[in-house]
Symmetry: C2
């Protein structure tokens, strides 16, 4: 196959080359009117742009971003999704975990080294600001790229609601909870179509008219202009608030070569599933015909797809701009064909040359994911604790020993109801709220088993893509039903599990992962679905607490809650 | 007349009686679904209530309110409108002026003495949060009340939009500016009707149906239950974002006895004008018939009244609850009958016993109010400066001498274009932005002349109710056209001008006021129309800067911007 020639064994190296440079920018964050899906809405823009500017760095570079909060009354932070922040945990950008929100009118400077090549992105991590459009791509190139290709494109995928995030937050936090519903549109690089369809002419009598775009329309799709018979790298990231997606390129096969910033053993597919928080690189060899056009289509999986496909076009350079693809867009696989999705997930293994995971773990968490009630508020809970992120960032409370800032008692390492039936709604739907964390010494190997279950009502188990901050983990395996400790560990792939920062937990199943506590700091680990996280679906890992206690953390990261008070009083009699 | 017997000469006394008590509450601020005008919206509620709880204090009491910010991502403050905050300027609750916004998840404690009896209210003073419904009544009773009445009612008046304040803020801050339009509804004690009319049965074929309320409907008007032939005190406050209002009680005359917490020489009217930021007490003697009902109506003045009247009912105790007033509600005076409004304003003079103002002033500001453009953003400016409130509160920057926190250069004391034609759109529409303030020594007498002008386009001059913090001022007079320095001062009423904290500036006219700099602190003085303030229509007075430099200010009030940095570094090498 053509791509076999392109890929050489990968060696994972962290680059701190002498030629490393500094990428420095000032970003003003504010609301702006925008037409993401041809209907006017309000987005969170960076320097007047939506999505935000792409960071294009080389491994080893130092990135310095001065974030200026130009919002009226809201705080803001930015999380650099996929960057491990080794030595700079305060720059991870998770409000309440690693820093205080930046106040309106103030500036906070993120400074970190992008030590490893990969396809990443960044996004808001306070309230549901990511869902308001605060995101953009973060590409880290390898100074010695092993992949060979002739050109590349970034495709940042997101979903879009017409209701404001403030209204959404209230809806989800209300008693009874009001569900926000499915997104109105899917966006590719911030562009979608709500009122029209690009492909409607295949479907006369359909509900929507064919789109007609004017020049500079904010919702007009970017066309990918390509040469025939060349190899392109598509860098795909999903920052959806809710939707699990499938992406296909008409008439082309896709070679998956990277996932979450790590090379994987290349494999060929017709389409990929991509969950919120994941990134992929795909190699695509364009067909021979120089005047053809092909749909790139993005559709919903895992939930009943009320939202129409997002479409853009792969356009050979000789194709006229006014012509259209001659066939309908690829059909998204059936939304509930979970077996198909699992089959895709299982194809992903590490590229040659990646270190294997340690054979044994020192600690194991079994985290039951449940939907529950807390005083009739709907919550998502992990081992029966729904996370309440405190006003004082954990990183600061641990640094300065402020023990009243959060619950000192850790949540349970395993779910305590041994006979919990994951196939049914919870027998006792009541949960607890808390801000307790899991604390690990440095240098140990931790296994986490994510265990899915039935939701509160009906026969439903939802998809949860779990994302870890400050780390990659090895994905050791997936299983159906209830995890059997002492048994299912034997099925783990310890030979070539992929390194990732996000992994999907399938309905009624379990997912096992392993990581090494090699990064002193406090790290969020949570479902990347924005409403689920808003409803408490996350846990927090503190790593090397003694090291955190000696860490240099900029005061500006801790100017809220009890750390502000502590810092104001230090050195006083 | 009946009321002559009720009113005795008033002596103004500040009470710090030995029997003074402490009123202490914890208030949780959060968004909540509500039906203020029979259509579901989102309000900023306090302890789950809209409007917020009424504070009912006695002069001399200490009020302690622990405000807990339960919002997701927004800061919050509360301003105690009408309370002078003598000795506690940090508790005035003006974000960026006297304190930092309270961060989500944090608690800030306001503690102040209500030293003087009066009808007051409180409200949000950050972004446009007042317009989101963050308000309530603040009644301070006199231990020796001179007025005699049999009962009392509070009527808190507001206006309501269906668009969120976040969208409104963006609209006003956009280029070009998008006007938010007139309010959808007027509310009395947080209750109005959008889809129906209480009085529609007088108007068959009208646009709206007669309201039918269910029990506990949040939009069902409170009925004022009264006995015949008794005297009631109506305490009225207007916290509208935009609307100037007129209030009438069908079949009853109203005796105006108090304005903004100061007794006025009683006078009788059929209706009152009330501008945003003003309060009044009215005495009303109920008619003799024990089974009658009367409309209380509130309508718009000063702007073309697109918004329907707000209505509630004065119900004699024997009237059946299902019957209706037998005649249509009072008709609001013509919106643009400014002469009628002026005539009302001029009736307001101080009650006997109030001290006269000093005869001379030491300083004079002539503040031209103009609508302008700043880089094509629409702004309101005072002497060609549109106020930008800094991220660091003035009170803190002055306390700690942080001279880079705001523009040290004061804005001009007079408008510098001598031949400025107030009757026409500005010849040069461009303005400047700034954060400079006016600084006064303690113990001097300051005159302020507010000068109105034509707006940017067309032949229009708008109403601006100006509100001062930390003070009452004497309203010395009103005039038409351009103020003539050295001439118009001779028309000032120095005999019995009313003491107020809010005064209206009429279209194309001027308003003169005088105050004594007897309250060390930093005090906002601004147009009380929320969108106008959002667009820069205010100035700031610093009073007794040397005293501020020695003041005790709680650190928690200054936990943002440069003061946070300063406080974190004090006492360090």
């Amino acid at each position: 196959m053509w791509w076999l020639l392109l890929l050489i064994t990968v060696v994972v190296v962290a680059f701190h080359s002498a030629s490393a440079s500094v990428i420095e920018s000032t970003w003003e964050v504010e609301y702006k009117y925008w037409w993401p899906d041809c209907k006017e809405g309000i987005v969170m823009a960076i320097n007047g742009q939506f999505p935000g500017p792409t960071i294009d760095a080389v491994a080893g570079d130092t990135v310095i971003i001065h974030v200026v909060n130009k919002l009226s009354t809201e705080g803001v932070v930015i999380h650099w999704h996929g960057i491990r922040q080794n030595g700079s945990p305060w720059a991870d950008g998770a409000a309440g975990v690693t820093q205080c929100p930046i106040n309106p009118g103030e500036t906070f400077t993120y400074k970190f080294i992008v030590d490893k090549a990969g396809t990443h992105f960044y996004h808001g991590h306070y309230g549901m600001q990511r869902s308001a459009g605060l995101y953009g791509m973060l590409i880290v190139r390898s100074p010695k790229e092993r992949l060979r290709y002739d050109g590349e494109f970034n495709l940042l995928l997101s979903d879009w609601w017409h209701q404001s995030i403030h209204a959404q937050e209230l809806a989800l936090s209300s008693r009874p909870m009001r569900w926000i519903g499915e997104p109105q549109s899917l966006l590719i690089n911030g562009r979608g179509q709500f009122n029209c369809s690009q492909a409607a002419y295949f479907n006369k009598g359909g509900e929507k008219d064919v789109c007609t775009f004017k020049e500079n329309d904010q919702c007009a799709p970017h066309t990918l202009r390509v040469e025939p018979k060349r190899v392109y790298r598509l860098r795909i990231a999903s920052t959806t608030a809710l939707a699990s997606l499938n992406l296909a390129v008409q008439g082309h096969q896709l070679v998956v070569v990277e996932a979450d910033g790590n090379y994987v053993a290349p494999f060929t597919v017709n389409d990929i599933d991509i969950y919120s928080g994941e990134t992929y690189s795909l190699l695509l060899k364009t067909n021979a015909l120089p005047s053809k056009k092909y749909w790139i289509s993005v559709g919903v999986r895992g939930r009943e797809p009320i939202t129409p496909q997002a479409l853009t076009v792969l356009n050979c350079v000789n194709a006229t701009t006014d012509s259209r693809p001659s066939h309908p867009p690829p059909v998204t696989p059936t939304w509930n064909d979970t077996e198909r999705s699992k089959s895709f997930s299982k194809k992903i293994v590490a590229a040659k040359g990646y270190p294997k995971p340690p054979e044994k773990s020192h600690d194991q968490l079994i985290l039951l994911n449940t939907q529950n009630l807390y005083e009739d508020y709907t919550k998502w809970s992990i081992n029966n604790v729904s996370l309440t992120v405190p006003a004082t960032p954990y990183l600061g409370s641990i640094r300065y020993g402020l023990t009243s800032a959060y619950d000192l008692k850790s949540p349970a390492k395993k779910f305590t109801v041994d006979n919990y039936d994951i196939m049914k709604p919870p027998a006792n739907p009541n949960t607890t709220k808390g801000s307790g964390i899991y604390s690990f010494p440095l240098g140990i190997v931790v296994d986490v088993v994510l265990q899915n279950a039935n939701v509160l009502k009906g026969v439903v188990s939802e998809i949860h893509p779990w994302h870890i901050h400050g780390h990659d983990f090895w994905v050791l395996g997936y299983g159906d039903g209830k995890f059997k400790p002492g048994v299912d560990e034997k099925t783990y792939n310890l030979k070539n599990p992929p390194l990732r920062n996000t992994v999907v937990l399938y309905p009624y199943g379990w997912t096992a992962l392993r990581f090494v506590t090699d990064n002193p700091g406090v790290w969020f680990f949570h479902c990347h679905i924005e409403p689920h996280l808003h409803m408490g679906m996350g846990v927090v890992f503190a790593e090397g607490v003694d090291r955190i206690g000696k860490m240099e953390i900029p005061d500006e990261a801790l100017g809220c809650g009890l750390t502000r008070k502590w810092l104001m009083n230090r050195g006083r009699p």
